[in-house]
Subunit: 209 residues, 2 copies
Amino acid sequence: MTARRTTSQRHEVPSGDGLPPTAWAVLGLLSFPGERTGYELKKWADASLRFFYWSPAISQIYAELRRLEARGYATSRRSGPEEPRAKRSYAITDAGRTALADWARGAGDAGPPVLKHPLLLRVWLGHLTDPEHLRALIGEHIAQTRGDLKEARDALDRADGTEAWSHPQIALRWSVRRLETEVELAEAMLGDLDAAGTGQPAEDSPTPG
Amino acid sequence: MTARRTTSQRHEVPSGDGLPPTAWAVLGLLSFPGERTGYELKKWADASLRFFYWSPAISQIYAELRRLEARGYATSRRSGPEEPRAKRSYAITDAGRTALADWARGAGDAGPPVLKHPLLLRVWLGHLTDPEHLRALIGEHIAQTRGDLKEARDALDRADGTEAWSHPQIALRWSVRRLETEVELAEAMLGDLDAAGTGQPAEDSPTPG
DNA sequence: ATGGACATGTAATTTGTTACATGATTGC
DNA sequence: GCAATCATGTAACAAATTACATGTCCAT
């Protein structure tokens, strides 16, 4: 096919021993001080992980926790000793911490960033819609993104300044900036849409060299 | 759970009649003038769709094409009439164009943008690695992104100025700007990493209000 | 005591990937 | 003739979602 990482026929997602990035993400949540339940993990993922790496469905989190425990990377305990559906808290084990550290420093990239942007798909298909509607969709997206931005800033504020949280803070700082540029990008696109309707290419032509 | 679109327990991906965004993306590729084979579609997706909406595996493209044909949204024909594995070209039907237009103007968002950024996952887990290694990973990512940027600019240059391609052009323009900011974001993160190592929060403090 | 948020999980299904098999076409 | 690329597809599997079943805990 074409370029190095283009083909998606690469990046052999491990079979057998390796784990998918999602499993490492869940184990990563567990790698910070304290033990937590699947439910708590989901809330945390929604509030922060999702800004730079997506929030798995709760059922998948439970599944990953079971897999992690089966591998000895996590342990769990019940609150009220023997109730059937009682709260179950997970904690990372030493083996888990070691495995996670190995993954984190693994050579090269762990796969390229993947962006699935349904709005762009619709803009790309703009020849099938009317410009007004497209502009409305972009407007909705901007509003949504500003909401996310607020949430991301809140998450950043909540992350205290202690050593243990400095890297999550950096990731959230990146996310906040990213969301800021997402708004700018959408606004610029609104401009391009105008330009395509009226005159020709654009006004603040974006691609210099 | 928490916020409106946070929960991922929403956005009921349709069962029965509806199609996943990926199917619309493939049908979208077909909605531009000309007929094409699965193989050509894959190359095109690698060269342009992937910048704003991911490139499905070739096997999935073939599968989607079959599904699209089963629904009457596309037709296919063989080149050399009855060879077993001959080139098969697909074209969109009127029904397909109508269905696609309906989807494109579908109310509200077609699901939030999803970003899976393995590099950020590793930065987030930075407390498990040494800073040097992290910086190297970010450096690799910057190099990679610059490569993608070049490819996106090429794709934009290749898109001619005719009416039919103006929306794909807008999507590519967005992608080029996005990749530019991706580089800037990574560079800023390098700065944050320094700041976290030496002094406290940062220098060009990014989150004002 | 009832409704709602909290909590855990299973089952069925869909989506998507990798690995593989196979053959046609083209350039050397 | 032979390798590379073009081309299509199947099979096995992995990843992830939705729908559902159930039960606890708490406030009204």
